[in-house]
Structures are given as structure tokens and as C-alpha cells.
Symmetry: C2
Subunit: 295 residues, 2 copies
């Protein structure tokens, strides 16, 4: 059945030629060389880089031109820019055009799509590819970024089944392992394992940086500090957007964490070595088990 091998989409509009969008486009090219990819990015240098890297066949200066003939629109812009982008997109979409995103939070994005996409809302497939890369921009894009990694899709009851299965197939053909999760659970899980750690890492470095003798402190920081604070080097506007978009789940996680710190504080103040050891041992075991499962 040759149609099994035909691409789920033939004309892709990539909105935002950053690391994630650029990498997905490169992966699509490998899986389906016949698919046409048009990119729109507000940043002129990104447009040039996207063409130079082979991310897209053509780069446009307007959203309109990029999406005009698309049967798939990939929104790879910061989470905070999604809501106005949905609104601009609404009158430009064809009656069959599927829309998907790559944002790190999902409930807020889904709500923005519901309000702003009109009848195209049912053809919106909310997505979140999990990749640990810290770099950004089209020059950092790599076609194998999602190889063997998970991509989470969080459809809602209105989501068109055909749109969902086509986006799912596209991700699988790009090497990703597709998981379907409820959007609220998605946001809770990523608040705990990704958004909170970013907040905690920013807080540590931010607190130190405000001190008069910050340089002295930083000068003695070593390997443990380097690893713990690596994510404090992440893109500030991107993480502002994620924090705001997922603030409800993040506040819950922050409160649970603060309680745990309070427990630790009590144990420290009482010099309760047994309580500290118990906690450190459980954590070390869980961390080691997790790392072993990865390998």
C-alpha cells in the first residue's frame, strides 16, 4: 500500500525557526524529502540561517505568506507569543489545515487556542517534544534532536482524530516516541521535573548575585554548583513565559518543595542526623535508580 509511505502533510508552515522548530523541520526533511517547508520568523538573521541550514525551502517576512498553502502549521514560538499568533492565524487557515505547537506547557496553550482559533480549534494538536538542549536559534538546530526522545501530545475532547494521528505519525517518523497525556497531568509532571528545577536554580544564582561579595562566593564554586546551576543559564524570557503559563501547577510544586525544605530545616536545627540521613538516602537511591533506568 504505497499510500502508507506518503507523508501525512505535504506543505508545512514553520512559524519560528528556533532550535526546536528548526530541528523538527530538519527531521521532517530526512523522513519526507518531498514535503515543502516554508518558514516565517520575525528575525531576519533567523530567516537567513534557516535557509542556509536547509531548514526551509523558502523564508517569508509575513505569517500570511508562510501559511497560505500549508496543510500543517507548526507553531514553534515562545509560549507567551502563542495567544496572539493563534489570533493572527485564524483567518489565514484553510478548512483542512492542521495546527500544532511545541510549547512546554499545555493547559494555557489549549485555552488560548480555544479562544482564538475559532472553528480551527478542533484541528489544533497540542504537543511538547522533550529535549534537553540548552542552546537556541536555527544554527543550533539538529535533525536528530528528537531521536529516541519522547514527544507528548495532549489532545482534548474536541481534537479531530485524523489531525491527531497525522501529527503523531509525523513525530514518529522523525524518531520520537509519542506519548498521549492529559494536559493537566502534563503540566503537573513538567512543573515538578522541569519548571520547578529551573526556578530553584535561577533562585540560587540570583540570590548569590545580589550579595556585595558575590565574586568571592562564585570564585569558590565548583563542579556541584556548575551542574546544579547549568539550567540557570537558560533563556530568561522563555522561562518567564513558561512560569506564567504554568503558574498554578508550579505554585503547587513550589509549596510542596518549600514544605520539604522546612522539614530539612527542622532536622538541621535539631542536629537530627538520623532524619537527614534518611532523607539523603532515599533521594540518593531514587536518583541512582532513575539514572540506571536511563542507561
Amino acid at each position: 500500500m504505497p499510500e502508507m509511505h506518503s507523508p501525512p502533510f505535504s506543505d508545512v508552515a514553520l512559524i519560528g525557526a528556533g532550535l526546536i522548530g528548526g530541528s523538527w523541520a530538519l527531521a521532517i526533511r530526512v523522513a519526507y524529502p518531498q514535503v515543502r517547508i516554508r518558514v516565517f520568523d520575525q528575525n531576519a538573521q533567523h530567516r537567513l540561517d534557516a535557509i542556509a541550514r536547509g531548514i526551509a525551502d523558502v523564508a517569508y517576512e509575513t505569517l500570511e505568506d508562510a501559511v497560505r498553502e500549508a496543510d500543517l502549521v507548526i507553531l514553534a514560538v515562545p509560549v507567551g507569543a502563542l495567544s496572539p499568533t493563534f489570533l493572527k492565524l485564524r483567518p489565514l487557515l484553510g478548512p483542512q489545515t492542521v495546527v500544532t505547537d511545541v510549547g512546554s506547557t499545555k493547559q494555557g496553550v489549549i485555552e488560548a487556542a480555544r479562544v482564538n482559533l475559532g472553528e480551527a480549534y478542533s484541528r489544533f494538536v497540542p504537543g511538547h517534544p522533550i529535549s534537553g538542549a540548552e542552546k537556541s536559534g536555527p544554527t543550533a538546530a539538529r535533525g536528530d534532536l528528537f531521536q529516541g526522545k519522547r514527544t507528548v501530545l495532549t489532545p482534548v475532547k474536541e481534537t479531530n482524530h485524523e489531525a491527531l494521528s497525522k501529527v503523531s505519525l509525523l513525530w514518529e517518523k522523525c524518531g520520537a516516541e509519542v506519548h498521549i497525556l492529559n494536559a493537566a497531568l502534563h503540566d503537573e509532571v513538567f512543573a515538578a521535573v522541569s519548571h520547578l528545577p529551573h526556578l530553584l536554580s535561577y533562585a540560587l544564582v540570583g540570590e548569590l548575585a545580589t550579595r556585595a561579595n558575590a565574586d568571592l562566593f562564585f570564585s569558590y564554586a565548583a563542579g556541584g554548583f556548575r551542574d546544579f546551576t547549568r539550567i540557570a543559564g537558560s533563556h530568561p524570557t522563555m522561562w518567564r513565559d513558561i512560569s506564567l503559563a504554568n503558574s498554578a501547577a508550579l505554585l503547587k510544586e513550589l509549596d510542596a518543595y518549600s514544605l520539604k525544605l522546612q522539614e530539612l530545616r527542622v532536622a538541621l536545627a535539631k542536629q537530627d542526623g538520623a532524619a537527614l540521613l534518611d532523607m539523603f538516602e532515599r533521594a540518593q537511591k531514587a536518583r541512582t535508580d532513575w539514572a540506571n533506568r536511563l542507561n
Copy 2:
């Protein structure tokens, strides 16, 4: 002047053949092949490994045998074991024997030495080599572990100048950059850049691990989580000891950090994107500046 090249010590007793002690011994061998090194370790396997790795010339089953002829005793045992070790050491030390340690906290160690070492207290040189290694045991020891790294010495007013300069010279010949710091400042700095991050990392993993659906959460953890939690894989008893020994400074740091988290909580709850961005930007800049200075 050939005496400039003679070793500051000729007979070293290494108490504890772990990563740090073992690595220092290997570095001493390279700098001064003529120095005799005797090791005592309670762990029979460590004694065998220490000989096999060339860490020591001879391994003893008792502290007495190892220190009998030593002109330098290196205490490379966990911080929590230092106090009783000082006490046992006291009657065994020759009138010129210098004692030094490699513990991660200094004020508590100095106080234990003052109480337990008797008149040898003036020949105790408190030390802390900064190395980011996470492995442990003699098989992980490397002669270049301290190459280009800092070793902090925290002498007190009673510390004998000759003892200090000999230990300092030994560290320098082993490739370390020796820094002299006040013990209280040392403990404050390391509470902030090392001990607190360990506590925070243990707390994150420990909190997640207590959940009924912990496996689901861990299954979506990616690169940011891996880096942030790497230090939660550290040795639990070692970090219990460090936390207890440096609890005063650590509590201060924990409180300053909790205040910062509280600020973040307020900003999140108010959806105050400007406050979040300001904090993330300062932290990102400080982290990037720090990383650039390292390179």
C-alpha cells in the same frame, strides 16, 4: 640551594584511603617519590586497593602502626569521624608531627582539634581541597585530581607558621593553588556554593520520591533534571556529616534562599512577568559570567 627541593615531609601517614586521601597520596608520590606513605583504613578492601593502586607503600590495620614514625598525618576521613580520630591520635603523635585534614567544613573541625589534640593543636593545619569529583574510594583516586584546583587552608591564631608553610608547599607541589581563608568565611562560602545546593537537590528528588506516582514523574525527567539532581547522587553519610558540622552557616543560607523563593512565589501568584524576568535575567547573566570566567 638543594634543600629547596627536599620534601617538606618524609614520612606521611594517610588516615583514610578514599578518593581525596588517595588522590593526594598519588600526587605526593609524583612530586616527591622519596616520601614514604603509610595508610590506615578500617576497610580491608580499601587497604588492598590502596596498595594495588600505589597509593601507599604499606597498609596497616591500626592507626598506631600507621602514624608511629610519621612527620605528617593526613586525616582523610568523613568530617563526622574527625573528632574521635583526633582523640585517638593525641597520644600517638611525635613532638614535631604535623596534622592536616581535607574536610569540607572548617569551624567544627578546628573546634574538635582544639578540644581533642592537646598541645599538638598548634601543629594542626585545617585544609579543604576543592574538587568536583562524585566518585569515592581508592579505585577512583587520581594523582591529577587537584591539578589547577584550589586548596583552602584555614589556619587559626595558634597555628604554627612552619607547619602551615610546609602543608601549603606540599599542596602547591601537588598542583593545587593554595588560598588562605578565615574558617568562618570558608564555612559561609561553602554553605552557599556547595552545601546548600546539595541540600536543595536532595530535597527535590526526595520530595518526588515520596509520591505514589513517582515513577510517572521520573519517567518524564530530562536533561535539566539530570544536571540539577546529579549531586543528589552524592554519598548520604558524607553529606549528613557536612550538614551537621556546618549547620549554623547552612541554616543562614537556607533562610536567605527561602526568602528568595518566597519573593518568586509572590511574583508567580501575581503573574508579575516583569519581576520574574528581572530575576531570571540577573541569574542568567551571573551564571554566564561565572561560566565564562572558568574558561
